[in-house]
Structures are given as structure tokens and as C-alpha cells.
Symmetry: D2
């Protein structure tokens, strides 16, 4: 089968690769229909994720069709259409029993990281019963690809952890795909104000279209002052960090109101300065979280009931054969205005989608 | 001044009445601009509320202008435009310190009940600093009358107590003004389904317009079966009782899913049957609540940010001189299709609104 | 093997019975070392539980040693010492993923009810990985039998649902084993007062020894008045119903303070009167719950750290051969002062405990 | 009257000072019977708190007798015995209505900081109705001095914010008076393990006596390794920082388990390093808090019911005339083994306690 393989820092290729096989009774093999690329995949390619070794098939998002299941799988059978969670969860360990699937002792984020991932024609999913979700009849499968990672991440790490509430004031720092996922899902809770902060005016335009009530281009280094002015000097109830660098985290420290919460979503590579000399008496909360995808069933309900249009995050579509182009487009988002790119691996009928065909058929 | 006075069961009159006076340093006198009638006022008139004695000016909702304040009032001064909470709260007692203002040991629901109320040209408000709210510049004052009682009641007793959550399934039994207030505010939490149940098709039409995803006319006695069919036999996560009779409460018992919550909003005059023989092992919660109006600041934010159009609950407008007509209209809602009626007591300029004038000027 | 078999209302026998066998890959067979009798077993014998059919081996509590496991069991192996939860949980279904194991779609309370139970030499445990718990080295196994049902039930249904908190006032109605389990575990939260109410002075003596700060014998029908006097007319913050009849539930309705919670633990056979005409405006919560045993790992920690002496609930010990005597003793608790009786099925060495032997060896 | 006055960095004196007077209708004048010294007072004396200006009477803790009240005070009258909260709260502002009294817009921590404090014969208390608490009949007034600041601080900032729960594992870094207050109040929630970490073996001895299940002297720089060894490599569920320097905060970062909470109690003067490169995916929470004293009524209940022996924090007693000696003793705690020192200002009969007399009478 075809698969996008990481070959060490800066190197990747679309290669022929052996088919995955059932390795444990709780495994399933899924034929991928649609997958996508995540910012984390770019991090791996830069060499920032040493736990991901060369030879690994990348990708931790996607939808597909069950090809085969191990003897211990009871919830799925071949032919079932499924959503793949970016988090594998055994459902049995201490952490899974506390709904902290991200820290599953035999799972967590392993797909496209410690085991082969979804940017391929087929993928092996461990703990299938508790790591896959049935796709409701008539659902828009492309939209559901957004539920593998980006929407639960924006929602759980940003909105739930940030305790976004009706009437409250929220700032989201970073209007990339994850920040926009926080923006979309923050609106489940009817906050009065959502202030979106980024360096890219195009993304701020998208944010306004997606429901931001105000936007700030932080290029002038005065975003904190702007937020304080907008909030009457009070600051925001929730500050969602969706970038992952010290400057954006420290901006959140500056704009958080007494009693508020800084919810970190970004993946950080270095330490940040925590100004406890200012914050020790401000009654604030800071949270970190690797997504648990515990909200996936809820998000499926919300998408099914049309309260959330997940598809609006999709800007480009490619066939699996063109995945290198997809990486090119996604990796140059400032120029291409890419948010999420859909990669079509297998056609509904079962044949692999050929070069150029996806764009023609699906866009 | 003119005032609508309760004269014993079945009797009321628009009378001349002595002006209220500051009785404690924490009192304020408010000149009423707009008030309204509540279902509870009708209960008092039927003689159902023996704690309300003849001679009492009715009404516990309204907006107005501060006329004078006692020496202990620090948050308001004459001329300030204010929203009156239906709940008076001292801010000091055990219950107020726990945000349970409904049980304030020297307040709670006393307006138009144990002390004279708002259906008059002026009203005395005890504990003014903690029982009035400043009206934001440019706000629609008629809409804000809905924040005195009906919206916090629907929200706190129904939506908050019912733990309405994104993606969840909600049933609201009773599509009167309170049930509709629950319907409007339930949408702060993006539930996937809101099923509205009533006997009146007109109100169910209104409910659909206000955001209900399904409606059931319970006239055939088969509402429970209908809800179970709609939810795949599972029942609803939150059942909000907004009527106040045994039949509607027991309907909620029948449709609640395991793990769900029955949130009682209705005012009950007799006991109900609680079928613990069916419910003891269903992991359900039942709540009761007299509104605390603890959510008023939040609701003001939400109205200000245009996330909630409170004015759509208003169907009729009258001058204070025509308040008996207003009672007639509100009391025959099945025929008049009345939801909330606005009674204009004082014109913006300060003169009392004359007969017929309100309808002409304001509707 | 020997087993205590239900033979229809009023009838039971200690019989020879076929050994259980692995029926699904996730099953385990456990050799029972210690088991006990629950009030629910007496209900079954009275014919109150029609879902339990004649021929069923009773019992849903116990500890033992893994005899064999199915191919899908990964957490246990033959020889492991285990605690059996009274609730079987698949870990996969909608309810299990929400930690509501009591409503597991293929589990819940099935042991000694819908499938054969633990009052036998061996038992089959479905969903073994998520329904058994490893016994820590050096633990008192008799004490751990209290963790199969009674302690999680008293804790989850009574204490957690009742939101018992530091400094609060608690009443527990019913000083039987379950009420006493609530009493013991309520003390995890340092309430200021725990008032125990029962008809049996002996049990009230036990309650005082177990930490009750006050006791009331309700034989004179004036328990409500006594509680109100003790609480300055305010009532209690949490009222835990641990009997299961209308009179005791309605007592809880009378003594609950504004803002308080009535946590139902009792198994009810008939409806109760819910006096909403008094309670609609009291801001109270009523909860029901079939134990989820979600707190079992926590309780194991607490027992291990010596913060809870579970063994003090044990009053009598019998061999499996004498289980009919054990039923006799447990069924006449008013005379025998029995709380929980331990039934020893298998000796540490592996031989079945013979008649009379348990009492001699273990008491 | 006599008062301990701050005279600029390093300087203080016991001086004659003008009596305080009622300045607002909501003020009360309290005759101090017992007060104490806080670590914060030492910070002020070092010049670390520039918002406290020379000429200020220090002290924010104490009990006393109401001398006089303003016209707006309704809850207290001259002669009432009262506990003084270190936090003044108006009960009216946005923050007070959310129970965040620490951020009261006209209160918060002002006593002995922005207005004159309690280390004097008399003190003016603003917002008296909501900043004083009646002392229950028969209470140990010395013990209650611990409720002005230290116990609510240890409890709210450490235990509540740290979400200490039954069966959980807690580490407290710093065994000074505040850390010990966290230790005492953590036991309200029956954690399985409480590990106390400090440099001073004497304080660790005290900690063991107060209920710590393990202690670590961090002098060898290996405290993190020791905690990880004690917890099987997992870390602690709650890490309470009760020192206020980077090293101790960063120790908390190292020992916190996935899903755990670092609750900061310490007063920090400089920034700390937050290692988000390690923590971004660990699902942790960090909290800061200036005590709100919202738990004071609860703590009064707990002390009254003998569930907490607050007096054991008291090691030394002085008369107000000897307050410079008291500072000396408290300021050299490593040598004197002082925890909290009681300063007796006025005798029960009303006369000022003379030099040497307190120690004689009260110890």
C-alpha cells in the first residue's frame, strides 16, 4: 500500500509499504478514506519529536472503513464506517477509568508517532472498541475528519479547561486551525466577547467570519494593552494559548483577569517565564492538557444536530498520491491561506484516489 | 401615586396610594418606568399565596429611575436608571454569602408579596445596593424587564439546575413565558435537541420560532411515549418542569434518562407522586429552586452582546392606567396569545403615561 | 462445587452445582475465598426481585483467587488475588465511558441476579479486566469484602451524592450496614455533625462508636422535630436515606435545609409522596443512584493507608457449609446484632472450609 | 492607645497612637483582645511590600470586642465578641458577589497594609457586617486567632485549590505556619498520603505530629527523587507550594502527577521558570490565590465541633507591651521553634495586659 513515511529530520516520502496486520485481539485494520495533516506532523518533520523514529508512517487523523477486526473487538465489524481518534485508549487502565485517555498506559498519542499512522491506505488501530467511533448515517465524512484531533483539542484543552461560560470574555491567542477550533467550540457556551489575536490579517478575517467579536493583530507588540482597553482594564475571564511559544503564553499572563483561567493548548519546546510576583495573589488558574478526546461523542452529536459546521475549517483537498503537494500547501499557510487540507485515500467505491482526481472530484 | 392593589381573593383595583418612603438607610425609592405581570400575580389573585395580604401593591419586576436613596446606599444615586431584581438580597446573611439570595433572611421574594411592589409609579427597594443593577447605556429597557424575574428563573431553575450541556437532549414541559425563558437560555449551552411540550399549539409554534428542535402537543396523553420514541428509548438528559402540577412533574419522571436531571421550575400547590420504585437505581437528580437572580450580571452581559433577544418575549404593551386591561389580556393567554405584557408607568420625560398612550407610543 | 441457590420466593438451598466456565474471552473464573450476604439477597428471597429467577446462585460480593481467564483478559492471571465488584462493567459502552458503570449495557448489577453469583466455591466474572481489582500485598481480605458493595454504595450513593462537606451537618436515616457504611465514609469529609436515626438502640450505639455525633431513636415518630431542634430550626445540609420506605424518605424531606441534598440509598418498592408544595422554593436536590463502584480504587487506597477500618462492619463469621446459618443470623439482625457476616468458602491453602471451621479459625 | 507602627524598611516601634474613629457608616471599632504576627508582617518590615507606607499600624489578624459601630452596621453591637478576617469585604461589588472577597474593590487585604491594623489596642474595621464573624459561646479565642488568616489561607489556597480528595496523595512544600495550616486542613478530605517537605527537621517533626504520613528534608537537593520513589514514579495528585521562592515552586512542577494540581500559597517576589516543554501534555493545573476567607464560617463550625485543634499552632504568648520580643521570637523561628505567637492586648476584664503578664496568665 501507499504511505507517507518519515525518513528523519527534513525528510519524508510517499512509499510502498507493507500492509498493517492485526497484532492483538483488540486491534482493527481500517481502510482510510480521508485523512489530513496536523501541525504536529510538521514538528516531527523538523525533528522536534525525537520519540518519533524514522520509518514511521505519519498521521493521526482520519475516517475510514473497517477492513478486519481482532477476536476481542465487539463494537465494530468489517464494512463499518468509523472515525479514528488521535488518542488510543484501552478503557481499562487507571487513567482511562478517569477519562484521561491521553495518558492511557498502553495508548495515548501513539498513532503516527510510536506506531504507524493514518496517512496511508490502511492503518492498524489498537484498542479499537474504545478508539474508534461509528459514523452516523448521512454524515459529512470530510467534516468528521476535524473530530479526530483538532476540534476535541480546541474544545477540551481550550474551551473546557478555560471554563468558558455564558456572558464571559475570552481571548484566543493564535488563529491557526487549533485556535479557530477553540473559537468555534467556545461558542457552545455563549460568551459575550471572543477576542482573537494573531499576526496574520487573513486568519483574523477568517476568525471574524467564524464568530470572533473582536480581533487584534499583535504585530505591533501592543496586544496586551489593546485587550486591557477592550475590557475596561479588567482583562479576560479565559485566555486560550494556541501557539506554543513563550511570547504568546506570557501575553496570556498579562491579560488574564483576577479569577480567570489561562488554558494552554500550544505545544511548547522551551520553558516560559511565569510571573508569580504579579500573579500569586490574582486567583488565577493555568491548565495544560493533551487532548483526551473524551468529548468526541458529544461533538458527534453537535455536528449531527447542525450546531457546528466543522467543514468550514477545510480549505484544500488532495489525493493521497499528491500528499507531498498537500504538505507543501499546509506548510506554507501564510501564503496559501490553508487551514485544514483533506487527503482522500480511498474512493467510496474502494479504489484508491489517483493523482489530481481528488481535487477534481471533491472540491 | 397610582398603584395596582390586591384586595383579597379575586379582587384588585388601580388606586391612589401613599408614596413609599425610605425606611432604612439601605433603601432606595425607584420611579417605575416599565413593569410587567407575572403568573405569580395571578396566583396571588386566586388566593393561592396566603402570605400576601390584602392591601398589598403587586408586582416584582420592572425598570426605573432612582428617585432617592438612604444614607447607606453607595452604588446608586438619584437619576440612575436601574433594573429591579425580583429577589431582594442583603449581601450579608449566611444565605447571601453563599449566593442563595432567594433565602436572604431579610429579603428573598418580598416585593409585591410581603412589601409593596412595582405595579405603581414608585416602589421602595430594600437592600438597594445588592438588589438593583445599573442599566447599561443604550440598552432596550423593555427587554431588560425580562431580566427582573423570568429570564433568571428560566435560566437558574431550569437550565443551570438541569445541567444543560453541549450536545445534550433537553425536554421542557410547559411553553408559557417561563418555559420559553428556559428555552431561550438553554441555547447558551448548545444542546443538540430541545423538545418542547405543551397543550397549546400556538405556544408550540412560538417555541419552534424560539429555537425548539421538536415540539409535542401532550393533549393526547402520550407525550412520554413520543419523547421516548424521539430519543431512541433513552429519554432526555434534562427535563425542565415549567408548569407546576403533578401530571407535568410525573411526565418528567417518565422521560428522564439514566444519569439525567429533572429541574423543577413550576410553583406547586400539592404534592406529587415520586416513583422511587422505578427511579431508585436510575442515577437521577431532581432539583427545586426559587430563583436567586445570581445570574443577572451575566444575563445583562449576554443581552448587551446581542446573544439573547429578550424583547421577543413581549407581546403586548399598556399604560399603567390600563393595567386592568393588561391583567385581562395576560390572564387569558390562550385566547390573546399573550406572553409578557409591558406596562409603562412613567414616560422617559417623567410624566405618567396616560390611558391608551402606551400602546400608541410604544408598540 | 457447592453453591447457595435461590429456588423461588422463600426457598433456597446449599447445593452441588456445575462449575462455571469461561463463556467469553473477557471472562475470568474466580475461586471464592470470602463472600458475604447483602440485604438485597434477602429481598430476592422474599420474591421482591422478579428479574432474579429460580436456579440462580446468589451473592454479588467477595474476594478470591483467579482460577482461569479468557484470551482477552490482560490485567489478571491465574493465582492473582482479587476483589470482586458487585457491578460488572465493560469499560466500552456509553455509560461506562461516563463512569456510570451501574448502567453498563452488558453489565451493571448482574452477579447473583441475572447470572450466577459469589455464594459458591467458584464464580464466573464477565468483563474481568474492568470488574475485578487486584488486592494489595498484605491487605486484610475480610475487610476488603466490604469494598465489593457496601462501602462504595454508602459512599457514592450517600456521601458523594449528598455532597457531604467539611463543617456541614448530615443526617443518616437507617443505621443498618449501608447506613453505617455512609457514616464511616462521610467522615472522609469532616462534617461537623452526623446525626444517625434508627429504631434500634443497639444500632444507634454502634453508630456512636463509628463516629455519629448524635443519635435519634425515631420510634416516637418525632425524629423530624428532634433534628430541627438540634440544628436550630435550620435542618441538615445532607439527608441520606438508607432504608427504602416512604416514611424514611419523607422524614428526609422534612429535615432538609434550604440548599441541601436528599441522597437516596435505599431500595424502594413503592412510590413516595414528594411534597413539592413545600419544597418547590427550597433550592433542594434529590438524588438516586445504583452504585457505580467508580470509587473502588480510591477506597482501596484509603483502606491501605489505614484511614478507614472496614473490618469493624464484620460481626459474624461462617464457613460456606454453614451459609444457611449465616442467612439465619443476618436475617434476624435485631436479635443477633449482625451487621455483615463473612462466609469463608476456600481456605488460604485451597481446601474448602468445612462446617464449623470458619468460626473456629477466623473469629 | 498603644500600637506597633511600621517606620520604614527595618524599623518598627511600639508607640502611642491616636484612637481609630468610625469613618463610614459600615465601620466598627474593635477592642483587640488577642492578635498575632504573620510572615507577611516580616516581609513589610524588610521593605518588600511598597504599598505599605511608613506610619502604618501592622497586623491583620485577631479577635476582640466591638467598641462601637457605624449607623449602617446591623449584625454587630458594642460588647459582641468577634473574629476579624484578614480580608475586608463589602459584600456588594462584582468580586464579592462572586465570593472572591480578596479582590473586593473597596476591601481585600487592606488591614495592616493600606489602613491601620490589629497590632494595637483598637482597630477600625471597614465593611464590618461582612468582615467580622461572631465568636460562638465558649470558644477558645486564642485558637480562633488562627482563623483570621492562616487557616483559611492554608485551606483555600492550598487544600481547596489543590482539590485534595479522599485517597489522594498530597505533597506540601514548606512546613512553616501556612504549610502546617494546609496540613491540618488537608485532613478534612482524608487523603491517603501527605508528604511534608522542608529544610528544618524540627518543623518536620511537628508535621509528623500534625498528621503528615511522610517527611522529606530537602537539604540534599533530592526531594523530587524522594517523592517520585515514594509514589512509585507517579508523582502526587496535589502539590502545595507554601514557601514562595522559585526553587520550591519548581520542585512542585517536578513532582506533580499527570492530572494533578500545583496550588501556590507562597508569596513570590520574582518570576519562576514554568517548564511547559515538559508540562504542556501532562494535564496539570496550577492555581494562585489570595485568601478570600470565604471558608471562615465553615472553619468556625469545624473548630466548634472539635474536628480541628487550631490551638496547636500556637507556641508562644506575649503581652502587647512585649510585642517587640514577640517579633524577635517569631522572626527567629529556626532557633525559637516558633509557629504562631499570641499577643494579648486587652484582658477579658478590659484592662490592657501588662509586660510579662500574658505569658504568666495565659500559657
Amino acid at each position: 500500500m501507499k504511505a507517507l513515511v518519515y525518513l528523519g529530520p527534513g525528510k519524508k516520502a510517499l512509499q510502498d509499504h507493507a500492509m498493517p496486520e492485526i497484532a492483538a485481539p483488540t486491534d482493527a485494520i481500517v481502510r482510510i478514506t480521508k485523512t489530513t495533516i496536523c501541525g504536529t506532523d510538521l514538528h516531527i518533520l523538523k525533528g522536534d519529536v525525537p520519540t518519533c523514529e524514522p520509518g514511521r508512517i505519519l498521521g493521526h487523523e482520519g475516517v475510514g472503513i473497517i477492513e478486519s477486526v481482532g477476536s476481542g473487538v465487539t463494537a465494530f465489524k468489517p464494512g463499518d464506517r468509523v472515525l479514528i481518534s488521535c488518542i488510543s485508549s484501552c478503557g481499562k487502565c487507571e487513567y482511562c477509568r478517569k477519562q484521561m485517555y491521553s495518558h492511557c498506559t498502553t495508548g495515548g498519542w501513539i498513532l503516527g508517532h510510536k506506531i504507524d499512522g493514518t496517512q496511508a491506505e490502511f492503518v492498524r488501530i489498537p484498542h479499537a472498541d474504545t478508539s474508534l467511533y461509528p459514523i452516523p448515517e448521512g454524515a459529512d465524512e470530510e467534516a468528521l475528519v476535524m473530530l479526530s484531533d483538532i476540534l476535541p483539542t480546541g474544545f477540551e484543552c481550550g474551551v473546557l479547561n478555560g471554563k468558558v461560560a455564558p456572558g464571559s470574555t475570552v481571548a484566543i491567542v493564535g488563529a491557526g486551525p487549533i485556535g479557530l477550533a477553540s473559537l468555534l467550540t467556545a461558542q457552545f457556551y455563549a460568551p459575550a466577547e471572543i477576542i482573537m489575536i494573531d499576526l496574520d490579517d487573513n486568519r483574523l478575517d477568517v476568525a471574524r467570519r467564524f464568530g470572533a467579536t473582536a480581533t487584534i493583530n499583535s504585530g505591533d507588540g501592543k496586544a496586551a494593552e489593546a485587550v486591557m482597553a477592550m475590557t475596561g482594564g479588567r482583562g479576560v475571564d479565559a485566555a486560550i494559548e494556541a501557539v506554543g511559544i513563550p511570547a504568546t503564553f506570557e501575553l496570556c499572563e498579562k491579560i488574564i483577569a483576577p479569577g480567570g483561567t489561562v488554558a494552554n493548548v500550544g505545544v511548547h519546546g522551551v520553558k516560559v517565564d511565569l510571573h508569580l510576583e504579579n500573579l500569586w495573589d490574582r486567583n488565577i488558574t493555568i491548565t495544560t492538557r493533551l487532548v483526551d478526546t473524551v468529548s468526541t461523542p458529544m461533538l458527534l452529536n453537535v455536528v449531527k444536530s447542525k450546531k457546528l459546521d466543522a467543514a468550514q475549517l477545510i480549505t484544500h483537498r488532495f489525493a493521497l498520491d499528491d500528499i507531498l503537494d498537500a504538505y507543501e500547501t499546509f506548510g506554507h499557510a501564510a501564503d496559501t491561506h490553508a487551514l485544514k487540507v483533506i487527503i482522500a485515500a480511498v474512493q467510496p467505491g474502494g479504489e484508491t484516489v489517483g493523482p489530481g482526481q481528488a481535487a477534481r472530484d471533491l472540491s
